[in-house]
């Protein structure tokens, strides 16, 4: 039995009222959804709250998901997670803007810190991206979704998804210039060799 069949079995049993089957669906998707929410929302506590809210919404809408529809169950859960994160992040953005007006501008570039850890710097730089760019970057780089799946999650066309992703990468390579400069192994060589 593959993952999809197993998931379908849990879904059918959950729809028949088996608590353990819904718990199994949650356990199956929790890590991936949490990772997405943590990247979007930044802090652990907010991501845990959002994870709980996401699965409560999944519970309410479970009967409405169609196996024959365009989105897999995993993508459908990410669509819900993104909506939850969007709502929370927009209210935080508003609060942040108020703070900026009161206390100065937000950090725009990331400099090497004492440890010089590129991954930490990358996480900080991603957190500073505009929400739409951050979402597609996280879905692509850290959730491994295809452009089509990202388009389904963020409700946008493929061109928009790619454009947001490119802009995110351009912004990140610019803000992490000091970390990334000098790193070799270019895409040019990949293309030339392929």
């Amino acid at each position: 039995m593959n993952d999809e069949e197993l998931e379908r079995g849990y879904l059918d049993r959950a729809l028949r009222g088996e608590t353990a089957a819904f718990r199994a669906l949650y356990e199956h998707h929790a890590d991936r959804v949490f990772h997405f929410l943590r990247r979007i929302l930044g802090d652990r506590a907010s991501a845990e709250d959002a994870l709980q809210e996401t699965f409560l919404r999944v519970l309410r809408g479970l009967g409405g998901w169609k196996a024959a529809g365009p989105a897999s169950l995993g993508t459908w859960i990410l669509i819900i997670a993104r909506r939850v994160a969007l709502t929370r992040e927009l209210s935080r953005e508003r609060a942040r803007r108020r703070e900026e007006v009161a206390g100065g501008a937000r950090l725009l570039s990331v400099r090497p810190d004492e440890t010089g850890d590129l991954r930490q710097a990358l996480e900080a730089a991603v957190a500073a991206l505009p929400l739409e760019q951050r979402t597609v970057f996280v879905l692509r780089e850290w959730q491994g979704l295809s452009y089509e799946e990202i388009a389904a999650v963020v409700v946008a066309d493929l061109g928009t998804v790619k454009s947001r992703l490119y802009r995110a990468r351009i912004a990140l390579q610019a803000s992490l210039r000091d970390y990334l400069s000098g790193t070799k192994g270019s895409a040019r060589e990949r293309h030339v060799n392929s």
């Binding site: 608590t19 949650y26 356990e27 652990r44 990358l122 992703l165 990468r169 790193t183 270019s186 040019r188």
Partner: protein
């Protein structure tokens, strides 16, 4: 600060991502051959992808995982209890209607729809019928109506004339109610469907319903009404007076 403009930077990002065709790569590689800044940008983009790929997933704390799981278990049980109560209430209403109808000499309850059955039901100007739609719900066929019960499967009912009130239990697959002007797709809800001289009218009491034909479709929410004329797309309708099943003369 980069001297490359935004479209050029986006093209370089697409190039680094491997999203360009052979034809599109040519001009980019010509630029890379002459511009050290473009080369440095592509190298940074490539290093960025490698750094992202090397970042470990952020794990959910086991205690938080369990805490959220317990909240979901409780919510699931509550939802199941509410669903059962709602089904019980629906069944009670259906039973009450059936009992009431049993007193009327011209009315009788049609036996539950069994697999392979296909029945035509015609009510006269003074009569009603209550029919069950397998295990998915009940249909209350109004006065002076003519319907064909589906023989199992997604097509539950075809309404040729008159009005039907449906109470449908939520399931995985939608039920289809066919009418001359449009099909009505029902997942789990309560609604009235009337086949009038001017077309089909659908009124949603609760839940959601999709009304569709080959010209278009309309999603209806609770308390919304759609009318469909034959050969036209379904449209929202604002009633001037109360709707519902036509009453006996």
């Amino acid at each position: 600060m980069s001297t490359l403009d935004q479209p050029t930077l986006e093209t370089l990002a697409a190039y680094a991502a491997g999203d360009l065709s052979d034809h599109q790569r040519g001009p980019v590689e010509a630029l890379l051959a002459t511009s050290s800044e473009a080369r440095a940008t592509v190298d940074r983009l490539t290093a960025l992808a490698a750094a992202a790929a090397g970042t470990l997933p952020l794990a959910l704390d086991p205690a938080a995982r369990e805490r959220i799981g317990l909240v979901l278990d409780t919510a699931f049980r509550r939802a199941r209890r509410r669903r059962r109560m709602a089904l019980g209430a629906t069944a009670a209403v259906a039973a009450a209607i059936a009992v009431a109808l049993a007193w009327a000499p011209s009315n009788r309850q049609t036996p539950p729809l069994a697999g392979g059955d296909s029945q035509r039901i015609v009510t006269e100007p003074g009569g009603y019928r209550l029919v069950t739609l397998g295990d998915r719900g009940v249909a209350f066929v109004g006065v002076d109506s003519e319907v064909q019960l589906g023989a199992g499967g997604a097509l539950a009912l075809r309404i040729d004339r008159g009005s039907v009130r449906l109470v449908v239990r939520r399931g995985i697959e939608p039920l289809i109610i066919a009418t001359p002007a449009a099909d009505v797709e029902v997942l789990g809800t309560e609604l009235d469907v009337s086949v009038l001289a001017a077309g089909t009218e659908v009124r949603v009491v609760r839940g959601q319903v999709l009304v569709r034909n080959q010209h278009g479709q309309r999603l209806l929410w609770a308390q919304e009404i759609a009318r469909v004329r034959p050969g036209e797309t379904p449209r929202f309708y604002e009633p001037s007076g109360p709707l519902g099943l036509r009453q006996p003369d």
